[in-house]
């Protein structure tokens, strides 16, 4: 048998490598920081703009945090705020440390981010710095005096997209591929199903989850399984589904940003989340005084916080005028308050007869 020969220098090397690996790990966890100088300096009246610090648990490429980031950037472009950010703060302890560090050393006028992976840590840091408004994406309640929460309440556009899909399907089978059965995803899927029911009470909605936020190859496979089960319209809550729809030449609904460019003949619309009204509310706190509000309603369609992208009637098979009108009428009802999309956060089943909803 061969035996291991370790020289003493081997041990040193090992230690050195372990050190290097630890550094790499730290670098990988630490994420990127960025600074966006305000573009509004030109017309300024000499007044200092509030500094909002973005602290994100995922990389900015994740659509959820990406939406918050772009809203903050648009506020910078409008000369409303100054903005700095850090992303990929992926663990609870890193989140707590980072928040404490930023609150102490950067003295921002408000901190914004997502707390889903670190609810406790964010609340702890918020309690330590009661003079700084904290506004975080969260599934829990606001806490006095300075911890506000928001969320992507996309049930309104999901309902409208469901109506579109219900009207477009010929097989009466619609496929949905989502990340995982968590409340933020469930309420979108459930509202979508109710929308389908309004235009097509005979339809069945097939719901697949991939159990992760990023795995477009798995999402594509899930979509293809739905197509093989007869689905002829898809809702891409996750990346990867549009590719399946394009190959099978089927209509598909995109998510978070208008994804029409990715498949102009297939993407009929997309659910849009506009965090700007939420950012404006946070800016108000930053210039005024901290509060503990539930900012969730700023993501509702009525408040301009969510929408569907313009309906693309150039898709394969087209979109009947009647259907477009029906969806636009419903949107009007949502905007004027005569229709409120029900919110249901229970986990959807894999195969749903919409008539039984």
């Amino acid at each position: 048998m061969a035996q291991i020969r370790r020289t003493s220098s081997g041990h040193h090397r090992l230690a050195a490598l372990a050190g290097t690996a630890a550094l790499l790990l730290a670098a990988a966890c630490g994420g990127e920081t960025g600074e966006e100088p305000s573009g509004g300096g030109g017309g300024g009246g000499g007044e200092e703009l509030p500094l909002i610090y973005g602290v994100f648990a995922t990389p900015l490429e994740e659509p959820w945090d990406g939406a918050i980031h772009s809203a903050l950037q648009s506020a910078v472009e409008d000369g409303q705020i100054e903005y700095k950010h850090i992303d990929n703060v992926s663990t609870s302890d890193a989140m707590e440390r980072t928040l404490r560090d930023i609150a102490t050393n950067e003295q921002p006028d408000a901190i914004m981010g997502d707390a889903f992976a670190a609810e406790e840590a964010v609340r702890k840091a918020a309690a330590e710095f009661p003079d700084i408004p904290f506004a975080f994406g969260s599934g829990e309640k606001p806490v006095d005096p300075n911890m506000s929460v928001f969320d992507n309440w996309l049930q309104d556009p999901a309902y409208l997209a469901g109506m579109l899909c219900g009207g477009l399907t010929k097989s009466n089978i619609i496929g949905v591929v989502g990340a995982m059965p968590i409340p933020e995803v469930n309420r979108i899927v459930n509202a979508f199903v109710l929308g389908v029911k309004e235009t097509n009470p005979d339809a069945t909605v097939k719901v697949s989850f991939i159990n992760t936020f990023f795995d477009p190859a798995a999402a594509k496979q899930a979509a293809q399984a739905q197509i093989s089960a007869g689905a002829d319209v898809l809702f891409a809550e996750r990346d990867g589904v549009i590719s399946a729809a394009e190959e099978a030449n089927l209509p598909v609904v995109g998510m978070m940003v208008d994804q029409k460019e990715e498949a102009p003949k297939n993407v009929v619309t997309s659910l849009l989340w506009n965090v700007r009204p939420t950012v404006d509310a946070v800016t108000e706190q930053a210039t005024g005084k901290p509060a503990s509000e539930d900012l969730g309603t700023y993501s509702f369609m009525k408040e301009g916080g969510s929408d569907i992208a313009p309906i693309n009637t150039d898709i394969v098979g087209g979109v009947p005028d009647d259907l477009v009108r029906q969806v636009e009428d419903k949107k009007q009802e949502i905007l004027d308050g005569s229709f409120t999309t029900p919110v249901d956060e229970s986990a959807p089943k894999g195969s749903i007869d919409v008539s039984q909803q």
Partner: protein
């Protein structure tokens, strides 16, 4: 309850393809006694570089060549750490994976902040209208060329014997005039190239775009497959097919009425449970390559 068997087989072959490429790559490396935990990062690098070059050049072929080049470099890096410097293989492999993933994500951020670039021209499926055979050419090559070739090389050629000699008894191999260093480097470079092709398959053939976390643990599945296969080529292929077939099956079952009430988590875990079950049944009395995890030093 309706299962579409043809779609199931087709999905199985597609899901198994990156596992076969990377799994055989890992097998070749491990045959020489080096555990390459850089596999996850190497697949990531292949997916990213392949995508990047294909996007810039407009050619998925150039992307694939670049991915292979990237895989070779990743293998060289792993060789530098574990063969030349003789460092701990676990630490080196995990370090390489962390480094490569972080570097790719950093580069992606620098190049495409906020954008969602998509390839104009990606590999298309051959025979799109024929059930089951509607696969990418990389799938055909994986099953019909790579696996038989790897089996033959390991079983019947001098190169194959040298790999095994180094893996089983590197001192004897050294005495017999086989360079342990060169053999391990070659295996790492070839293995790295195959892993990178497995990753590039996702961006250049399946998706036509790149997202963070695109490999999502497929490399770790390959590590398990190689142990399950007891370092033999065909069982790696079989293991990949079991994993992929179970995955394809649960995707179909989860959206049927009958299985609608079964917890999602259980359905999603099925492929992993299948591999663990297979390991429990066939994976006993594993004979590791005798020089596994060991660095070679003369004298």
């Amino acid at each position: 309850m309706s299962i579409n068997v043809l779609a199931l087989l087709s999905a199985m072959l597609t899901i198994a393809t990156p596992l076969v490429w990377a799994g055989i790559g890992e097998l070749i490396v491990e045959k020489t006694g080096v555990l390459n935990l850089g596999i996850e990062g190497t697949m990531y690098l292949g997916a990213f570089i392949g995508f990047l070059v294909a996007l810039r050049s407009g050619s998925p072929w150039l992307g694939l060549i670049a991915a292979i080049g990237g895989g070779v470099v990743a293998g060289l890096l792993m060789g530098l750490l574990t063969v030349t410097l003789g460092l701990n293989q676990h630490v080196s492999g995990l370090g390489v994976t962390l480094l490569l993933i972080a570097a790719c994500e950093f580069a992606f951020r620098l190049l495409y902040t906020g954008a969602r670039p998509t390839l104009e021209d990606k590999f298309q499926v051959l025979l799109p209208d024929v059930p089951v055979l509607d696969q990418h050419w990389l799938t055909y090559v994986a099953f019909l060329v790579l696996a038989p070739a790897a089996w033959w090389v390991l079983r019947a050629t001098g190169m194959g014997y040298r790999l095994q000699a180094v893996g089983e008894n590197f001192e004897a191999a050294d005495v017999a005039g086989i360079s342990v260093t060169a053999t391990r480097y070659v295996a790492l470079m070839v293995g790295g190239a195959l892993m990178a092709i497995g990753g590039a398959f996702l961006t250049l053939a399946v998706l036509g775009n790149f997202t963070l976390d695109i490999i999502n643990g497929r490399g770790w599945v390959c590590i398990a497959l190689v142990i399950f296969a007891k370092w033999r080529v065909w069982p790696v292929v079989l293991g990949a097919l079991i994993f992929a077939g179970t995955d394809a099956l649960q995707l179909q079952l989860a959206i049927t009425k009958t299985f609608s009430d079964i917890p999602r988590e259980l359905m999603l875990a099925l492929p992993y449970l299948a591999v663990i079950a297979a390991l429990a049944v066939w994976g006993r009395k594993v004979h590791y390559p005798a020089s596994y995890l060991q660095a070679y030093r003369r004298g």
